[in-house]
C-alpha cells in the first residue's frame, strides 16, 4: 500500500466522522460530497474505473444535488423572505 492511498484512506475516515459531527446540514452535505470524491479516487487506485465514474457521477453529483434541493425545500439553507415577514408579524403581535 502506497503512502498516497494511506493519506486518502485517512481523509475518508476524517470525512466520515466530520459528516456525522457537523452541526450545519449544508456542511454535512458538502463533506459527504468530498467523501464520495475521495472514494472515487480510491476506486481508480483499486483498478476499477467503471465504479469510479459511477461514484463520481452519482455519489458526488446527483445525490448531493438532491440533498441540496431537499434542504432548500425545508428552508434549512436560507431564511426565506416570507418566513421573515411572518416572524416580524408574530413579534409585532406579541
Amino acid at each position: 500500500m502506497t503512502i498516497f492511498t494511506c493519506i486518502l484512506l485517512g481523509f475518508l475516515v476524517v470525512c466520515a466522522i466530520a459528516a456525522s459531527l457537523s452541526k450545519k446540514l449544508l456542511n454535512t452535505i458538502l463533506i459527504f460530497m468530498s467523501y464520495s470524491l475521495i472514494m472515487s479516487i480510491i476506486w481508480v487506485l483499486l483498478e476499477s474505473p467503471d465504479l469510479a465514474i459511477t461514484e463520481a457521477a452519482v455519489g458526488a453529483g446527483v445525490t448531493t444535488v438532491l440533498f441540496l434541493v431537499t434542504l432548500k425545500k425545508i428552508n434549512a439553507i436560507i431564511k426565506t423572505e416570507s418566513s421573515q415577514e411572518e416572524n416580524a408579524n408574530e413579534q409585532e403581535n406579541t
Partner: protein, 320 residues
C-alpha cells in the same frame, strides 16, 4: 495607423477592465451576488418556557422520578449500554475485517472457475474488450434488466409520493420554486453554456464506448442526467420543457425498457435452444462489435439519464 475608439467603448474592453482590476478597483460583483448566511436557530422565550415546563411535567407526573427507582436505573443503564453496544459493534466489525483474505491474493475464494472462465473466454464469447461490461451485459444481463426495472419502479414511487395533482397547486409550487432561485444568474449561465456540451459529449462517449473501455450505460446515463440538471438550473424550466417533459420521459423509458427486454429475450431464446445467434460479434475493439451489448448500453443509459432528471424535477416542484 492607430484608430481612436470612443471613451465608453474603451471602458468596456477586456484589457481596460483587467487593468482596473489589477490596480485594485472595486469588484463589480461585490455585494450583488445573492448569498445569505444560515440564520442562527432562535427559540422564543415563551417556547422555551413551555418546553421546560413540559419536561418537568413529564419527569414528575408521568415517570414520577423521585419515587420510581426502576426508571432511574433504566435511564442510567440505557446510556451506558448504548455506548458499550457501539464499541462492541465497532470491535466486531474490525475483527471481521482483519479476518478477510488479503486484497488481490491469488488464493482468494473469489478466484474460482467462474472468474477464470470470464477472463479466458470472455473476449471470445461476448466480443467485449471491457470484461466487466461483457459480464454485466452478457453473462449476467438478466440482473441488469432487473436493475433497470428497479430504477423505473423507484421513479414511479417518487412520482406517487411527490407528484402534485391539479394545475392550481402546481402553478403555486412553480411560483414558490423560482422565488429564491437566482433568476438569469450570469455566472451560472455562462458556466453552463461552456460546461453542458462537454458533459453531454462525455456522457454519450461513456455510453457508446462501454464495451471498449471503462464506463457503460449506468455511469454515462448518470453523467448526462447531471448535465441536464445543470442546464435546468441555469436556464429554468421554460427552456428544458421545450424538449423534455413527463410525456417524453414516459415514452423514452418505455421504449428503452421494451427494447432491452426484446433484445435480451432474443438471446435467451437462442441460447436456451442452442440456436446460433444471427447477430455477429464483430472484431473486438471496433465500435460496432460485441453483439447486443452496445444496444443494451444505450437502453440503460437512456433510462438512467431520464430517471436522474425526473428525480430532480420531482424534488423541485412535483411535476412537469
Amino acid at each position: 495607423m492607430s484608430r481612436k475608439i470612443p471613451e465608453e467603448k474603451y471602458q468596456k474592453t477586456f484589457s481596460c477592465q483587467f487593468r482596473r482590476w489589477l490596480e485594485g478597483a472595486k469588484d463589480p460583483f461585490a455585494g450583488e451576488v445573492e448569498m445569505q448566511k444560515q440564520a442562527a436557530f432562535a427559540e422564543s422565550q415563551e417556547a422555551r418556557e413551555r418546553r421546560e415546563q413540559d419536561e418537568k411535567l413529564l419527569n414528575t407526573k408521568v415517570y414520577d422520578l423521585e419515587n420510581n427507582f426502576e426508571v432511574r436505573i433504566f435511564r442510567r443503564f440505557y446510556k451506558v449500554f448504548s455506548v458499550l453496544f457501539c464499541i462492541f459493534l465497532v470491535a466486531m466489525l474490525l475483527v471481521a475485517v482483519s479476518d478477510l483474505p488479503v486484497f488481490g491474493h491469488a488464493e482468494n475464494p473469489v478466484n474460482n472457475e467462474v472468474a477464470e472462465r470470464y477472463i479466458e473466454k470472455g473476449l471470445e464469447e461476448t466480443g467485449a474488450v471491457n470484461i466487466v461490461t461483457g459480464m454485466i451485459l452478457d453473462y449476467r444481463a438478466f440482473d441488469t434488466l432487473g436493475e433497470s426495472h428497479v430504477l423505473f419502479i423507484a421513479t414511479c414511487t417518487v412520482l406517487i409520493l411527490l407528484r402534485r395533482d391539479g394545475e392550481k397547486e402546481q402553478a403555486l409550487d412553480e411560483d414558490n420554486d423560482r422565488i429564491h432561485e437566482p433568476k438569469d444568474d450570469v455566472i451560472l449561465q455562462t458556466a453552463a453554456r461552456i460546461l453542458v456540451p462537454p458533459i453531454f459529449l462525455f456522457g454519450i462517449y461513456i455510453i457508446l464506448a462501454g464495451h471498449l473501455g471503462p464506463g457503460g450505460g449506468f455511469s454515462g446515463g448518470a453523467v448526462i442526467g447531471a448535465g441536464l440538471i445543470l442546464y435546468l438550473n441555469a436556464f429554468g424550466f421554460a427552456r428544458t420543457e421545450r424538449f423534455f417533459t413527463a410525456r417524453t420521459y414516459r415514452r423514452m423509458s418505455f421504449c428503452a425498457l421494451a427494447c432491452y427486454s426484446l433484445a435480451k429475450s432474443y438471446s435467451f431464446y437462442t441460447g436456451a435452444n442452442h440456436i446460433e445467434s444471427v447477430i455477429p460479434l464483430g472484431t473486438p475493439g471496433a465500435i460496432l462489435s460485441s453483439g447486443l451489448i452496445l444496444v443494451l448500453n444505450i437502453c440503460v443509459g437512456v433510462v438512467v439519464a431520464g430517471t436522474m432528471y425526473t428525480f430532480y424535477v420531482m424534488f423541485r416542484k412535483g411535476g412537469y
